[in-house]
C-alpha cells in the first residue's frame, strides 16, 4: 500500500472560469441535433409565414376594404412569422436546461462547475447569442422576401423608411429576449413539459386572458404584459395605450432579468 498522495498531471492545470464554461456550453449546444433542427424551424417559420402573408395580402389587395388598406404596414406584415418562431425559440430555450435534467446530464455539468451559477450565465450567453444571430438573420431575409413580394402591387417599403430599421432589428432583439426568458423558466421549473407550458402561458395565454378583464383595467395591465411590452419595439407606429418602443422593450428585459435572477437563486440552492 502506498500512502503518497497522487498528483494530477495529465490534464493540464486549468481552473474553471466563465469563458471556459461558455466554451463548454457552446460545445453542448452545437453537439445536439435538436438545437439545429429547432433553429432551422424557427428561421423557416419566420421567413415562410412572412412570405405567405405578404403574398395573400398582395393577391387580395384590390378587394380589401379601405380601413384594412389604411392599417396595412408592409414592414410588420413581412415579419408576422415571428409569432410562430417565438414558440420554436421558447421551446429550445427551455430544452437547453430541462434536457439536462431529464437525461441526468445536469449532475455531470454541476459536478464540473460546482459553483453552478456560471453554468446558467454561460447557457444564457450562448443561447442568447445564437438566437440573436439566427433571429436577426431570418428576420432580415423575411423582410426582404416579403417586400419583394409586396413590390408586385407597389406596397413595399425599405429599411430607410421611418421606424422600419428599428422594427426589423427590434424583432431580432425581441426573439432573443424570449429565448432568455425560456432559459430562465426552464431553470426554474426543471421539467420540459412544464417549462414549455409556462413559456406559452406567459407569451400567448396571458394576453388572451387579459382580454376578459374590464376595459378600464385592461389599459393598466395589457400593455405591460411581457409579450405586449416587448412587441412595442416591433411596431412602426404605436397603438393607443401601447408602450413606447424602447421603454416597452426595456420592461421585457426587466422581466427577463428578474426571471434569470430567480432562476439563479433556485439553481444555487436546490439539490441537483
Amino acid at each position: 500500500m502506498s500512502t503518497a498522495t497522487y498528483v494530477s498531471k495529465r490534464a493540464g492545470d486549468g481552473k474553471v472560469t466563465l469563458p471556459r464554461v461558455v466554451t463548454a456550453e457552446w460545445i453542448k449546444f452545437r453537439s445536439l441535433r435538436s438545437s439545429w433542427i429547432t433553429l432551422v424551424v424557427a428561421a423557416a417559420l419566420t421567413i415562410g409565414f412572412g412570405a405567405l402573408f405578404c403574398w395573400a395580402t398582395m393577391s387580395r389587395w384590390d378587394h380589401l376594404p379601405a380601413e384594412e388598406r389604411a392599417a396595412f404596414t408592409p414592414a410588420e406584415h413581412s415579419l408576422r412569422g415571428f409569432f410562430m418562431a417565438q414558440m420554436a425559440i421558447g421551446v429550445l430555450g427551455v430544452l437547453v436546461v430541462t434536457g439536462e435534467y431529464s437525461t441526468g446530464m445536469i449532475r455531470a455539468s454541476l459536478s464540473a462547475v460546482p459553483k453552478r451559477l456560471p453554468v446558467l450565465w454561460a447557457k444564457a450567453l450562448v443561447f442568447g447569442a445564437v438566437t440573436w444571430v439566427v433571429a436577426t438573420a431570418s428576420v432580415l431575409v423575411a423582410f426582404f422576401v416579403g417586400q419583394s413580394i409586396l413590390a408586385g402591387k407597389h406596397l413595399d417599403t425599405t429599411l430607410s423608411a421611418p421606424g422600419v430599421t428599428r422594427v426589423v432589428f427590434g424583432m431580432g432583439l425581441y426573439l432573443t429576449a424570449v429565448g432568455l426568458l425560456a432559459v430562465a423558466l426552464g431553470t426554474l421549473i426543471r421539467n420540459t413539459a412544464g417549462g414549455i407550458a409556462s413559456v406559452f402561458g406567459v407569451l400567448m395565454v396571458l394576453p388572451l386572458l387579459s382580454e376578459a378583464l374590464p376595459s378600464s383595467w385592461q389599459d393598466h395591465i395589457v400593455p405591460y404584459l411581457p409579450s405586449n411590452a416587448g412587441q412595442a419595439l416591433t411596431h412602426v407606429t404605436q397603438a393607443p395605450h401601447e408602450m413606447a418602443p424602447w421603454p416597452g422593450f426595456g420592461l421585457l428585459c426587466g422581466y427577463v432579468v428578474v426571471a434569470l435572477v430567480a432562476a439563479a437563486a433556485v439553481l444555487k440552492r436546490r439539490d441537483a
Binding site: S2, G12, R20, K28, G104, S111, P114, R269
Partner: protein, 314 residues
C-alpha cells in the same frame, strides 16, 4: 483523502443519512457498502456538493468540493452512469466537460482509449448499452486525472469481462496513490476489489474496518468435520469446553462451533477417530454483511413463504 463529519440528510420527516462520519485514505480501494436505499448515493452526492447536507460537512483533500478551483482535477466522480445527454456523442460529452477546466482534447482521446470506447465515441450516447454507459461514466471520472475517485456502483450491468476490467482498473488507480471510494450493494464484488470497507445501513455507519477484520468480526467461524465415527466424535467434542456440536443432515458430517480445527484434530487423534475432512469454515463476506445489515434493510419482503403458499392455493 475524503472526510465526512456528521453528515446528515433529511427529506422532510425521512432521514436518508444520519450523522455519518468516516474518512477514506489514499492508496487503497475503499468499498462503500450498504443495502439498496441505505443512503450510499445520497452520501456520494453530498461529497460532490450536488446535495446540501442538512447538517455536517464533507471535504475532499481538505476542502469542500465546491471550493476547489478545478474540481475535476481533484475528484473524478461517476454517480449513476447515465449522467449523459442521450442526444450527444460520447466524445462531445467529454469535450464539453473538459472545456470547463481547459483540459486538452488529447486527454479526452486518451480517456476514450483507456476505457475502450474509441469505436463508438462519435455515436449518440442514447444508443449505448449499459456497459458502454458505465465505461463512459468512468472516462468522465478519469478526465481530470484526479487524485480522488468516487464511483457509484461501477460494476452494475457489466458483463464478467467488464467487471474484471473495472476491478483491475480500480486496484491500479489505487496503487498509483489515489483515493478510491467505490459503492456497491454486492458484498462479493467488494471482497475481491476493496481493502477497506465502510458499511452503512439506514443511513447510519455500521462498520468502518478492513475487509479481513470485517469478515473475521462477523464470522461465526466453525469447523466442518466429516468422519465415519460421527457419533463417537460428537460425544467427545461435547466434553470440550465451549464447543457446540451440530449434526448435519449429510451423514457423517458435524459442524463444530466455539473451537478451532486444531483442537478438533488433536482430540480426534488422541481417541484414534478417523477424519475424512476437517475444514475451518469462515463466514463469507456476504454472510457477514447480511448479518450486520439485517436490522438495517430498508425494504424487506413482508410476505412470508407460508403466506405465499396460501395465496397461490387460494
Amino acid at each position: 483523502m475524503i472526510e465526512a463529519v456528521g453528515l446528515t440528510k433529511s427529506y422532510g420527516p425521512k432521514t436518508a443519512v444520519q450523522d455519518l462520519s468516516f474518512s477514506v485514505r489514499p492508496g487503497i480501494v475503499t468499498g462503500f457498502l450498504g443495502p439498496n436505499g441505505a443512503g450510499k448515493s445520497t452520501t456520494m452526492r453530498m461529497l460532490l456538493g450536488l446535495d446540501t447536507p442538512t447538517s455536517g460537512h464533507a471535504t475532499v483533500n481538505g476542502r469542500r468540493y465546491a471550493d476547489h478551483p478545478a474540481p475535476l482535477r481533484e475528484v473524478g466522480a461517476m454517480l449513476e452512469a447515465r449522467a449523459i445527454h442521450t442526444g450527444r456523442s460520447a466524445r462531445n460529452h467529454l469535450l464539453a466537460l473538459a472545456a470547463t477546466h481547459g483540459i486538452p482534447t488529447s486527454r479526452v482521446d486518451e480517456v476514450i482509449d483507456l476505457v475502450g470506447l474509441r469505436e463508438v465515441a462519435r455515436r449518440r450516447a442514447g444508443g449505448f448499452s449499459l456497459g458502454m454507459g458505465q465505461r463512459l461514466g468512468i472516462a468522465s471520472a478519469l478526465l481530470g486525472d484526479p487524485a480522488t475517485l468516487i464511483l457509484d456502483e461501477p460494476v452494475n450491468g457489466l458483463d464478467p469481462e467488464g467487471i474484471l476490467w473495472i476491478r483491475n482498473l480500480l486496484k491500479s488507480l489505487a496503487a498509483e496513490g489515489r483515493t478510491v471510494l467505490v459503492s456497491s450493494h454486492l458484498m462479493s464484488e467488494m471482497a475481491l476489489t476493496a481493502e477497506h470497507l465502510i458499511v452503512i445501513g439506514r443511513g447510519r455507519l455500521i462498520a468502518d474496518t478492513s475487509v479481513a477484520d470485517f469478515t473475521a468480526g462477523a464470522s461465526r467461524g466453525g469447523v466442518r468435520v466429516r468422519t465415519p465415527q460421527a457419533d463417537e466424535l460428537a460425544v467427545l467434542l461435547r466434553e470440550l469446553p465451549g464447543a457446540m456440536v451440530a449434526v448435519e443432515d449429510e451423514p457423517g458430517v458435524l459442524t463444530v462451533e466455539g473451537t478451532d480445527s486444531e483442537a478438533v484434530g488433536r482430540l480426534a487423534a488422541e481417541h484414534r477417530v478417523v477424519l475424512y475432512e476437517l475444514t475451518p469454515r469462515q463466514a463469507s463476506l456476504e454472510e457477514a454483511f447480511m448479518e450486520l445489515t439485517r436490522d438495517a434493510v430498508e425494504y424487506e419482503a413482508v410476505v412470508r413463504p407460508a403466506e405465499l403458499v396460501k395465496e397461490s392455493a387460494a
